[in-house]
């Protein structure tokens, strides 16, 4: 081969390589393309089709509306434009907005609203709603619905109960037999900004814009919610690019992105959006099964023995230690309520235990092995309590056995939560501390007459100032009684790709109506 030919060949090869490199490089790829679809990983099935259920929270927020909503501790209009409590608080009457339609184009009137409450009452689906107290429901006209209570409504908590997820209004065609709410819900037809386009149980739900929604139209053309049950698998899905966002189950306590993975995800370039919620993870005492917990000194000792800053450190500071009030500042009327009485003091804990005659106290803690955050926290608590002379025994078990053991009251302590998503803050506090409520059951916190009186004065009054005063009494009462050990203020997290913009939180719920996405 002569020299000239060699030169031509080398030049051609170099040129070819240069073209190849340019093609493979990111040069020119900096312009991101607008996406029309967002894929979300979520730990629960949306339950868009259900024999007896009402659909999951995410579904009801995407595609549904309720008579009222709760925002910043206040009940605000939604489907109902106004309401009136009358007949000596035996009746509440809602005025329905005119011109509302369901996503299938049918009218939303008082008749359709009644269907949902008929369904919940028929199926005894009362949780957090106060519907068990309803005697009858009347529809005087297309835009009015009256609820009559057996023994008078239970104040503001009952009104807030209409904002509960389970009270999301669906059209009559949602039911197997249209208009018969006791038959299975075969399609979720709501009035929210999105509508369900396709649903495959335990796999995915696709939402598209609801063209009959009277509010502002959503920006994306499609949102697919993929049900990925395992917490770590959801993280792997976003890392692999299979989904664009992960949404915590914003009820809290389960199906959330493990807190110890958030820093890693942030380092990898994902957005971490956090919304603190009026929910506090606590260490609860089983005083129904163990008389020892009735001794306030023991409960106080447990409060003194736990260093909440270390718990926050375990989760890389993504959650805040519950050092101040029993709830974070985002809870209604929390600011200026003052601090808790108990600061980390293992010596004080030891002396209180000695006063109780409980040196070497060995409570058993139930731990759900499927919640890795909980397992790590339990190990940390075990080590921490040891310094105060408390030998915490960990009973780690899978979710099924954990649920059985919890129900069977075979435990001394376990971690769970008080408070909850904002729309549930009234009912949840009442349900955790008032034995007379149906929700109290096996999940009730330590309570006493003074706590019950205080919680009622917090959740019942319609007057905001009275509620504020009541909350102050309630927080003071649980603090005085050392009813539980508040560990950390919980939060809802959304992990999203860098190009996802416009995720907002309304209360504690992430809203995707204004989301745009470029990648």
């Amino acid at each position: 081969m002569n020299l000239k030919l060699k030169k031509i060949l080398c030049f051609s090869m170099t040129a070819l390589m240069m073209v190849g490199f340019v093609g493979c490089s990111n040069v020119g790829a900096s312009t991101k393309t607008a996406q029309t679809e967002l894929k979300i990983a979520y730990g629960k099935d949306t339950g868009a089709v259900s024999e007896k259920g009402n659909g999951d929270m995410l579904l009801t927020i995407f595609a549904g509306e309720r008579l009222v909503e709760v925002v910043d501790g206040e009940v605000v209009p939604s489907i109902a434009e106004s309401w009136e409590v009358k007949d000596a608080e035996n009746c509440i009457s809602f005025k329905i907005k005119k011109g509302l339609k369901f996503s299938d184009g049918t009218d939303l009137t008082a008749k359709e609203v009644k269907l949902k409450f008929d369904r919940n009452i028929a199926l005894k689906s009362f949780q957090w709603t106060e519907l068990d107290r309803i005697d009858k429901i009347e529809i005087p006209d297309d835009n009015t619905i009256n609820f009559y209570y057996k023994d008078g409504m239970d104040g503001y908590v009952a009104l807030a109960g209409f904002a509960e997820y389970g009270n999301t209004i669906v059209g009559s065609n949602s039911f197997q037999t249209p208009g018969d709410p006791t038959t299975p819900m075969v399609e979720f037809i709501g009035s929210g900004p999105w509508k369900v386009e396709e649903y495959v149980k335990d796999q995915y739900t696709t939402f598209v814009p609801n063209e009959n929604y009277i509010g502002e139209a959503v920006k994306l053309e499609k949102v697919t919610v993929n049900m990925i049950k395992d917490d770590e698998a959801r993280v792997l899905a976003i890392q692999a690019g299979d989904v664009d966002a992960i949404v915590d189950y914003y009820h809290g306590g389960s199906a959330y992105t493990p807190r110890n993975l958030l820093s890693t995800l942030k380092e990898e370039g994902f957005q971490i959006l956090k919304q603190e919620m009026p929910m506090t993870t606590v260490l609860a005492f089983n005083y129904t099964n163990n008389e020892a917990w009735k001794n306030i000194k023991l409960r106080q000792a447990m409060n003194y023995a736990i260093n909440k800053d270390e718990i926050a450190g375990l989760f890389d500071g993504w959650i805040s230690p519950a050092n101040d009030a029993y709830f974070s500042d985002c809870s209604p009327f929390t600011t200026a309520l003052g601090k808790q009485s108990y600061k980390y003091d293992p010596e004080k804990a030891k002396s209180l235990l000695a006063e109780c005659g409980l040196e070497g106290f060995s409570p058993k803690m139930l731990v759900n092995s499927e919640n890795i955050d909980e397992v790590k926290m339990a190990e940390l608590l075990q080590s921490m309590l040891k310094e105060s002379g408390i030998n915490l025994q960990l009973d780690v078990m899978d979710a099924t056995k954990f649920a059985e053991a919890k129900k069977g009251a075979d435990w001394d302590v376990y971690s769970y939560y008080i408070g909850g998503p904002e729309r549930r803050i009234y009912s949840r506090n009442e349900g955790r501390f008032d034995k007379s409520t149906p929700e109290f059951g096996a999940s009730g916190c330590y309570t006493s007459e003074s706590i019950v009186t205080a919680v009622q004065s917090a959740v019942d009054p319609f007057d905001e100032n009275e509620r504020k005063k009541g909350f102050k009494e309630f927080y003071a009462a649980i603090d005085a009684e050392a009813a539980c050990v508040p560990l950390y203020y919980d939060a809802v997290f959304v992990v999203a790709n860098e190009g996802v913009k416009g995720i907002e939180f309304v209360g504690t719920e992430p809203v995707f109506d204004n989301v745009t996405y470029k990648k």
């Binding site: 770590e232 380092e267 499927e370 890795i372 190990e379 940390l380 075990q382 780690v396 078990m397």
Partner: protein, 271 residues
């Protein structure tokens, strides 16, 4: 003694030191939490780093090895005893008893072992005791079948007939003459099963069905480390290496012992 046997014996001796003397030389309490040093890498104060709760990884590995090896040994010894009893009874009595016991053994051996173990551990619940029970339930049958075969072979040997002809009773004959001839294949088989059992324990703990926190165990430690693969790789590298070491030690010893006890290979080695 072959070279491999020497290597295996040395490796197992080191392992024995880790398991039985290790807790005495562990620099830290394996349960001692120290959040101020969490997820630290290898350093002079923590030669294998620390975990998410600031616990010393080296100390936890020492205890974890003990946990896994002790459970493996218990499983193997108990399974071997049960297998020996049932296998011997089946072989000696024979007839309907043999048929009955063999069909039971067939039933146990018909299930895929791993799935069967997972199912039992799942039903019983995750704990060290339950995993031990689950592994014994799924292991004893293979020992029984092997012992039965060995005993049936030994029964036909002339010196057994001679022993009986000289008036020795059945129990004496079993203990004095049959047992020794079963011991060699049984112990080789048991060594082979230790590594296998160890892997099963590690696997079950990795998927959350085995030893539960805060007890250190190799599989559980690797499970805990998976969220930190990029940020703290030492959390899975050291337990992983240790598992490889333990399994390799038992496998090499098993191979060497089999060669050592095999008369044909032994004679070749001598030649």
């Amino acid at each position: 003694m072959g070279k491999n046997l020497k290597v295996g014996a040395i490796m197992i001796s080191i392992l024995a030191v880790i398991v039985f003397i290790g807790p005495l030389i562990a620099p830290y309490d394996p349960y001692q939490v120290n959040m101020s040093v969490k997820l630290q890498g290898v350093s002079a104060s923590h030669i294998m780093g620390t975990d998410q709760l600031g616990r010393d990884l080296f100390s936890r590995l020492i205890y974890a090895t003990g946990t896994s090896v002790k459970i493996s040994l218990i499983v193997v010894i108990v399974s071997m005893i049960i297998g020996f009893v049932f296998g011997s009874i089946a072989a000696f009595i024979g007839g309907a008893v043999d048929e009955f016991l063999m069909r039971i053994i067939d039933v146990f051996m018909a299930f895929p072992t791993k799935i069967f173990t997972i199912a039992i551990a799942g039903i019983l619940g995750a704990s060290a005791i339950n995993i031990t029970i689950a592994l014994i339930i799924t292991s004893w049958a293979s020992y029984a079948r092997m012992v039965r075969g060995c005993v049936l072979t030994a029964k036909e040997l002339p010196f057994i007939d001679a022993s009986i002809a000289l008036g020795a009773n059945r129990g004496y004959t079993i203990i004095r003459h049959v047992l020794p001839s079963v011991f060699q294949p049984l112990s080789t088989f048991a060594f082979q099963r230790i590594a296998h059992t160890m892997m099963a324990i590690v696997g079950l703990s990795f998927i959350g069905l085995g030893v539960q926190p805060p007890t250190p165990e190799l599989g559980a430690m690797i499970n805990e480390s998976k969220n930190f693969m990029t940020t703290a790789p030492h959390l899975f590298i050291f337990p992983g290496l240790l598992i490889s070491y333990v399994v390799f030690s038992f496998n090499i010893l098993d191979d060497s012992l089999r060669d050592y006890w095999d008369p044909r290979i032994k004679s070749e080695l001598v030649l």
